[in-house]
């Protein structure tokens, strides 16, 4: 059994990323989409942390920044979502198309 190496992390991260992308593209509920975006961000974090084994601690520092950013983004996104829900009584993304043209 081969020891766990960088490639394993990358494979897990890629799987998470693809799951996130599929979630963003296919789900109608904005909450789920936001969660899928978190998946994508965390896939990136995993990549950063994995590569920091080779290139030093910069990657980990960057990952912490990304986590902070994700928290902020989730807060803002959910705030917008609640405001929107109060107006339209829906959180389905296919019903939110007022700005099209």
């Amino acid at each position: 059994m081969t020891p766990i190496g960088t490639v394993h992390y990358l494979v897990v991260a890629a799987a998470l990323f693809i799951l996130g992308v599929i979630g963003v593209l296919t789900r109608r509920n904005v909450v789920i989409i936001l969660m899928s975006i978190e998946l994508i961000l965390n896939a990136v974090n995993l990549n950063l942390v994995a590569f920091s084994r080779i290139w030093g601690l910069h990657g980990q520092v960057f990952a912490i920044f990304v986590i902070t950013d994700a928290a902020a983004e989730a807060a803002v996104g959910l705030g917008i979502l609640i405001a929107f829900f109060r107006n339209k009584e829906t959180v389905n993304v296919d019903e939110i198309d007022l700005l099209k043209w």
């Binding site: 992308v21 963003v24 296919t26 296919d94 198309d97 007022l98 700005l99 099209k100 043209w101």
Partner: protein, 724 residues
């Protein structure tokens, strides 16, 4: 100088009376109204006496100088001489109205509330307030049982205010204010019985005919302002006498003719006399005050006031003289056959006014003014007497239904007889002196070129005597022709009415003595009093063609010539012949008496009785009625033609202009809607909309679609760079 310096109180007193009565009169007792209105006029009379008395002192100190008192300037700003206007005291001076005179000089258009007292206005002031006060007293008796008592006295006081403003004004504009004011009061008082259609029609007629004259006055006033740069009497007179202007100056001629149009309207001269006979619809005291003694002499006053201008325009003078003489004989001939007692007097007034203008026109201003003065007394007396007769006859005005009143109303009878002697020109009553002076001046002025006018005046004098004695005999003598019921009610009028009659009768006897001519051993004080106003003019006028000295000398010489005595005898003879003819014809007048003129020539009688069909002619010519009497004319009169022109051509032009505007509006709107909006604005928009349509299909609003495109693009890039 307390009276002179407060001369503005004279018009103000009746104004206050009018304001009190018109605003609160409905609630006041008749006695209060009497006290306020009569009191105001009597006070004004006393004040006027005081002012004139002080003026004579003033005139002695400053010979030939009129007294001028400028209270403030109400039109344009005041200048240094004119006292400081209240507006200027506040630091904010209103900008003066500047206009350019004929010689290109800027002049301010201004008019003062200023008062001018000179011999001319003194005379008017005295008889207007004096006769006015007597007529006010008379009215308290005459109107005692009439409705609208307060209204009557309010208007009467308003009239006094306007008339005094007219007289005392020191410039044409303020004079015009009074001029319009008396016109308004005349209108209101003619239409006093407004429930009678004939009265309201007569009031309208008076007002409208007067407007025509007023237009002439206004234009004349503007011409004077434009030519002389001032509207003050003193300044205009000074400029006119300065010698800068040639005799016969066309602009002065035009201005004086325009002023004379105004005088024709107010003083009932041909062709604007038609309103005065109809004005008899008003109550009799009104006829006496406004339409005999005072207002109708305003035209004479205005012409006499502008004498310095008229002297510079001999053709205007000739016009005045000819119009005056024509009016005199024209109105007198109508008066010969009228049956309404007041209408006879009305035509007599028109005729006497004609005499006054004849005098003014031949340059005998003093004689004209003298006749105004004496006429005011005897004509007011005649009207008041006729009012007393009408009062006694329970409102009957037709002389055919009168007769034999002399024993029943003796005071009225005797006072009216005195006035008749006066108007007929029998010495020593007032009318003799003034009428004779006019006839003599007409004979003697300008070397006798006006002798035809003298003849006209002479015939008029004969007619005057005839119709006046006809009136007296029909009313007071002959057989009684009234119904029994009326006869039963005949009574002499109350003291308040007979007392003014007696006073006026005394004046009608004595007023003429003021102008006792030189030829009869008198001193002609009246003319001497007026000398500062007129003397120079007479000389200038005489000087036309000859030298002034020579003419003046000749005139002095002529004045004592035997011709004057001859003419005097002739005119007295005419008066006595008229008296005799009337005595023969009407002394025994019974029911169905014969009119001598009708017996001699029925067509002539018809023409005279119908007033030469002038009213019908005016109706036809100016008010658009095609029917004259019973005949219907086929051709349009000027009035109808004007109306047709107005409704077809003028209105057609107006409608055409409207139609064109609408058409162009429609066109413009079409252009705007389809070309500007459609092609130029919406066109590019539609184009870009069409061009952008395929792009829009891509942007259909689903966020995930955009994300998918991004992902696919990313995949595409990665694939491209991986397998390259």
């Amino acid at each position: 100088m307390v009276f002179l310096s407060h001369i503005w109180l004279i018009p103000l007193l009746p104004a206050l009376g009018a304001a009190t009565t018109l605003f609160f009169g409905r609630k006041l007792q008749k006695t209060t109204i009497n006290a306020v209105c009569v009191g105001a006029v009597v006070l004004a009379f006393l004040f006027a006496c005081g002012a004139v008395w002080q003026y004579t002192d003033y005139a002695r100190a400053n010979p030939g100088k009129p007294y001028q008192n400028i209270v403030y300037t109400w039109l344009g700003t005041g200048n240094g001489e004119a006292g400081v206007s209240p507006v200027q005291q506040g630091g904010e001076s209103q900008p003066p109205i500047i206009f350019l005179t004929r010689d290109g000089r800027p002049a301010p258009l201004q008019a003062d509330a200023g008062f001018l007292l000179d011999p001319l206005s003194s005379i008017w002031l005295l008889f207007v307030t004096g006769v006015g006060a007597l007529i006010h007293i008379y009215s308290t008796g005459y109107m005692a049982h009439e409705g609208g008592y307060y209204r009557f006295f309010g208007y009467l006081n308003l009239f006094m205010f306007s008339m005094l403003t007219l007289i005392l004004a020191n410039n044409y504009v303020l004079m015009f204010v009074g001029w319009e004011g008396v016109g308004l009061c005349s209108y209101l008082l003619i239409g006093f019985y407004f429930h009678r259609p004939s009265a309201s029609t007569a009031a309208n007629k008076a007002f409208i005919v007067n407007r025509i004259g007023d237009a002439g006055f206004l234009l004349g006033m503007f011409t004077i302002a434009w030519y002389f740069g001032s509207l003050r009497f003193t300044e205009v007179t000074q400029l006119a006498r300065s010698g800068h202007f040639a005799i016969g100056d066309p602009i002065i001629t035009a201005a004086t003719l325009l002023l004379f149009v105004g005088a024709c309207g107010k003083s009932a001269q041909i062709p604007l006399y038609v309103w005065l006979p109809d004005a008899m619809e008003g109550p009799t005291p009104v006829s006496a005050l406004i339409h005999a003694a005072t207002m109708v002499t305003a035209g004479v006053y205005m012409v006499a006031r502008s004498n310095a201008l008229f002297v510079l325009a001999p053709s205007s003078m000739k016009t005045v003289a000819i119009i005056g003489a024509l009016t005199a004989i024209f109105a007198a001939s109508i008066g010969l056959v009228q049956n309404d007692i007041k209408r006879v007097l009305a035509y007599s007034t028109v005729s006497q006014l004609g005499y006054m203008f004849l005098a003014l026109g031949v340059g005998a201003f003093a004689a004209g003014v003298f006749h105004v003065f004496t006429h005011a007394f005897f004509k007011a007396l005649l009207f008041l007497g006729s009012g007393s007769v009408i009062h006694a006859m329970s409102g009957e005005q037709d002389m055919r239904n009168m007769g034999d009143l002399h024993k029943r109303i003796p005071i009225t009878h005797w006072t009216m007889f005195i006035a008749t002697f006066a108007i007929a020109g029998i010495p020593p009553f007032a009318g003799f002196f003034s009428k004779d002076e006019i006839l003599w001046q007409a004979w003697s002025s300008e070397g006798g070129a006006y002798r035809l006018l003298w003849l006209v005046g002479f015939v008029t004098a004969l007619m005057t005597a005839f119709y006046m004695f006809r009136l007296m005999f029909l009313t007071f003598h002959g057989r009684p022709r009234m119904s029994h019921e009326v006869e039963h009610h005949i009574h002499e009028s109350p003291k308040s009415m007979t007392m003014p009659l007696v006073i006026l009768a005394i004046c009608a006897i004595c007023a003429g003595w003021l102008g006792w001519p030189h030829s009869l051993g008198g001193s002609d004080r009246f003319a001497k009093f007026l000398e500062p106003v007129f003397a120079r003019e007479a000389n200038v006028f005489q000087a036309e063609g000859k030298s002034a000295q020579l003419a003046a000398g000749e005139r002095e010489e002529e004045h004592t010539s035997p011709i004057e005595y001859g003419l005097m005898f002739l005119s007295v003879g005419a008066a006595i012949i008229g008296w005799g003819m009337a005595w023969r014809a009407y002394r025994e007048a019974d029911k169905g008496y014969n009119e001598p003129i009708a017996a001699a020539s029925p067509p002539l009688y018809d023409v005279l009785y119908n007033k030469y069909y002038v009213d019908e002619g005016y109706d036809y010519a100016f008010t658009g009625r095609r029917k004259v009497g019973d005949t219907r004319l086929g051709v349009m009169g000027a009035g109808e033609a004007a109306s047709w022109f107005d409704s077809h051509v003028i209105d057609g032009l107006v409608n055409g202009a409207g139609w064109i505007t609408r058409l162009s509006g429609t066109l413009s709107s079409w252009w705007d809607k389809w070309i500007i909006d459609g092609v130029l604005v919406n066109g590019p928009a539609i184009l870009s909309r069409m061009l952008s349509y395929p792009m829009r299909l891509l942007e259909w609003g689903l966020v995930q679609w955009y994300a998918l495109v991004m992902v696919l693009g990313l995949v595409g890039f990665v694939a491209y760079y991986s397998w390259r």
